[in-house]
Structure formats: C-alpha cells, structure tokens
Subunit: 328 residues, 2 copies
C-alpha cells in the first residue's frame, strides 16, 4: 500500500512543532504545543502522543496506514542510537537532580505510535530538508550551515547526511576560527566559529566595536548596549550605519575563512546558509564569499556556491525533520 | 571466472612503482622504472605498458584474465575524470611550453591494456589501502593523514573514500591552522597545516628555533642550518636534544589542533598517520594527541584514536593504489 505522508517533529526548548507532510513538501496539517511547563518524560510523551494521534486521525490524512514514518529533529539528537543526549534546554529530559539524561526518543515514539521513527539533530534535519525540498534539490554534495542562537551544520556527501562513527558528525560551529586569542565559546573551547557567527556572536561583536571607540557614531547607541540583538545590528546596517556594516564584514570574513577549510574537506557543490543571519542578504553573503574565495585553493576558486536556504522559515524545521522519514 | 589479482601503480616525480597484489595484500610481483628522463606522454605510456605486460605475463600471474583491475595513485589524480591535472613534478605530463597538462590516464591505460582502471591521488590511495590492508581494517569512518614532503589526506566515511563534488575532496593539508600571522604555504595561502606539519615544515621550525636564540645549545648546530632535514630533527630528538624535542612538541600541537577540527567534521573512529614523520613514534604522537584532546568537544574526548599506519613503508604506495581496484 502506498504511504503518501511522513511526519516531521521539531523539538525546541520552548515548544514542539509537528506536521504531516507530503512528498512535495506541502504541510497538510500541523500542530504545536508549549513544553515550558512539562517536567517529566512521561508528561512530554503523553502530550506528543495526543497531538500525533489527533493529526493522524484527521480526515485529510486518514489513519496511520498512510504514514511512512516519523522524523524527529532535536537538540543533540543521535541518529544511530535514536536518543537525545545531554540536551541542557529540555526540562523534561532531565533527571531528578536536574541533570540532562539520555532519552530513548525513537523507541518511545515507535512504541507509542506503532510507526517507524528516526532521530537526528536540528542542523542535520535542515540539511536533509534542503536536499529534498529546498535549495539543494538535486545536489549530492553540499554543506548546510545553520546560523541561529548557535552555529550548526549538516554535511551531505554522495546524497547522504554524514553521521560519522558515533552519530555526532557535523559540529562545524565548534571548529576553531580564531586560535589562541579568540573568544571563549559556550562549549568551553577558545575561538569557535559559533562564538563569532551566531546571533549572540554578532551582538557581541557590535558591543565590542561600540566600546572600542566610544566616540564613533552609530544608531546602535540609541539603545542600551546589553539589549542589542543581531536583528538590531542587521536593521541598522540595512539603513547604512557604518559600524553595523563593519560588524557584518567582520562576521562574514570569519565565516568565509572557515568555509574555505570546509571546502578543503569535502569539496561541496554549495554551502547553504539557513537561519536568521542568512536573511541579511548581501550584508552577510558578500563578505563571506569574498573571504572564502581569498582562502580557497586555486582548484576551487569561483566554483563553490554560497546560497541562502529555500526552506520556508516558519515551516523549515518541520520539513527538515519530515524529510528524514522518507529514508525509513 | 575468478579474478584473484589487482594491479597497483604508484606514480611519483622520480619513478613509477607497480605490482600485482592478491586479496590479502601480498605483492606477488613488482617492478619499478625511472621516469626522470621521460619527457613525453607517449614515451611514458610505452614504458608503463611494457612493464605491465611483462608482469601480467609472468607464470605466477598467468595472464590478464586473472586481473580484476588497475588502481593508479598519482599527484593531483582525479577519481571522477580519471585524469592527472596540473601536476608540476611530472615532466612527461607537460605540454611543449613546459606547463602541466591534463593527462587522461585512465583512458590511456584502459586502451593500452584492455583492463579497467581507476585513478586517484596518493593520499586517497593510502586511505583505501589502509582500509583494506592496514591499520583501518574493519573501520568505516577514519581519516588518513600523510605526512611527507607535503601533508595530504584521504577521508573515509561509511566505508568509502570521499571525493566530493569534483573529485578533489580531502585537501586537509591546506586547511588553515595558524591564521593571519602564519607561514606562507607553497599553495599561496597563509598558515596552511602543510607549512608546519610536513617534513619541510618541521625542518623550518627547527631553523627558526635555532635562530631565535643563537646561544641555545643543540646538536643540530653541528650541521649547516640549510641542510637540516626532518629526519635530522627526529634523530636529535630521539637522542634527547631539547630543542629538537621542542620542534616536535610544536608540530604536534598544530597537528592536534587541526585534528580536533577534522573530528568535528566527520566524527571518525580514528586518524591514521602515514609517512616519514609518523615514524617518530611518541615524539610526534604524544603532543598531537594531547593537543587534539585539549581542543575536542566533550562528546569526543578520549574517544578518537590517533594511530600509526600499518601499511609497510616501501610497499604502501603499491598496496594503496591496488586497493582501489577491488572496487572496480
């Protein structure tokens, strides 16, 4: 029997979004529930099961025989083990002492629903979604870079997301862009790409530039420095604020230097930028591409595309997770 | 009919080595010819064909029906196109103006011999050899790093060498280890891993340390600074020369920092070190592993092996190229 639909579940710190998706990337039906007050795995699974059951039973879907599988994107999701491991932002994934615990999500969902499931992290899900529904349609070799609160990545080689020996491959946000003198990253390392190219990194660069020369004019001075977000910097830059433009040039340069190293690794056809920062257009793309080109080996100069994601922002996470399930 | 043998051809700047190899990695018969005086592709192909024909006809082989395929490792070898491109050290691969030209090696060999052939670069061949005959037997995910005159790499993911979109993936010697203030690499970039961790890089580090403090004692001062090779440094270090030991500590630190980034990319089970420098044992392994561990994300600490190649030095290049041919 033909199974025309898959389900995508995107697990975030605040809420869980899920939807039933067809082969062309149309979300037929979707749901979301708030998870901030859920403190146990049992309560979380009850809520998830309720939502899934309701969607699957909807007349436009027609029951679980129509569902090929369930794809789940979650922080620290492990593809091989089907687990979430040590995810600090999920209250319901902690033990009684408040420490993150290993959650066997794949097993729990399969037992509750009687449908095959697959788990991965959000960046790998985005890469899979990009390949099936987005800007990387038809590509066999590309790298998806997610520029959000952090910097994530999903690497596709020969048409497959790379999981590596242990299921955790593709942590390019924690490659070292600035050695020795770099910023301390949340992960404890010095100079990670994430500490510069994330939304938090961009805001920090802006604050540093404002402090460095207190007399330099900038529209960012109209707000308290601690309140500045990457969005504020993008808006100011778009209106021509020179300091804010410099923030993007600096960020793009670090990003492009890192991209040149990624190209030397897997020789991708394209690098796809996903997430808030990627929406800044030329402001971020131009300095990034210039810096990448400056640092590429000659065999790759002018040959590797850097392009924006074509996954629709609000639905991207569901589509990415859903795309995983077609491989089940 | 069973084809029990493959042929491996290793093309170097000075000579070409070739051999007939069985499934267990025994080299049944081998040959080598000097290529320094060969200046045209036709002359090269004549010589190669003569050597291949002689080996294949030998009684212990028994004719070309016994040969499954021919694997060729060559500088700048391209797996997809079956070519050598822009290889500056091969006199017979240049046009009349002395510029490197594209040589359709796969096509030429197949037409001459009537046996399927495959071409790749030497580091990818080493990785394939390591997986089939060496230290990575049974591994699906590892990275081979060749430490020679330059620094090369072959990346294996899910049991396959990564070639990328264009066939040139795995140039990890040209990822940037020291930004901005680093050494100028032969490739024109600043701060490439190769400019530190190659044999030439090690000798250069020794000269820099000798110059930095002219009063510091070292047995390396017994020879002209320009004559110092990485082997001299290794021998002096093995005998306890403090400056030479510092050279290895410095080299290992840069190598290990780079390895931490490689792990974040493909999460390998192991990194295998091949080539002259890798024979320095603990002198290079200890600082490399320490620096890698210092820079790994916590999920990988203590989990990624760094081990020496188990391909026999003198025959490694033939075995590596031969290993490619089993996939034909």
């Amino acid at each position: 029997m033909v199974k025309p639909y898959v389900i995508g579940i995107d697990i975030g710190g605040q809420s869980t979004k899920l939807g039933v998706v067809d082969a062309r990337g149309n979300i037929i039906i979707q749901d979301t529930f708030d998870t901030r007050d859920i403190t146990t795995l049992k309560d979380y699974m009850d809520e998830l099961e309720k939502s899934l059951t309701r969607m699957i039973a909807a007349p436009e879907i027609g029951g679980k025989e129509k569902i090929k599988g369930i794809g789940i994107g979650a922080p620290n999701g492990n593809y091989y083990k089907g687990t979430i491991e040590a995810a600090p932002n999920l209250k319901w994934a902690k033990d009684k002492q408040g420490n993150p615990k290993v959650v066997h999500l794949k097993k729990n969902v399969e037992e509750a629903m009687g449908i095959s499931a697959v788990v991965t992290n959000d960046a790998n899900a985005a890469a899979q979604g990009e390949m099936i529904y987005g800007a990387a349609k038809g590509m066999k070799n590309f790298i998806e870079i997610t520029l959000g609160t952090g910097v994530g990545s999903g690497i596709v080689i020969d048409g497959k997301v790379v999981y590596g020996h242990d299921g955790f491959a593709g942590e390019l946000g924690h490659t070292t862009s600035i050695r020795r003198t770099g910023r301390m990253c949340n992960c404890g390392k010095i100079g990670c790409l994430e500490s510069y190219a994330s939304a938090i990194g961009v805001a920090r660069t802006a604050r540093e530039l404002l402090e460095m020369d207190p007399k330099r004019p900038s529209t960012l001075r109209n707000m308290p420095a601690d309140d500045i977000t990457s969005r504020d910097v993008a808006e100011a830059a778009a209106k021509g604020d020179a300091l804010s433009i410099e923030v993007f040039n600096y960020t793009g340069r670090i990003l492009g230097e890192a991209f040149a190293d990624f190209v030397a690794f897997s020789a991708p056809e394209a690098i796809v930028l996903f997430g808030g920062l990627a929406q800044a257009g030329d402001l971020i793309f131009k300095p990034t591409i210039d810096a990448m080109e400056d640092n590429l080996l000659s065999i790759w100069k002018g040959k590797v595309k850097v392009i924006p994601s074509q996954l629709p922002g609000s639905e991207a996470a569901i589509l990415g997770s859903a795309a995983l399930a077609w491989e089940l």
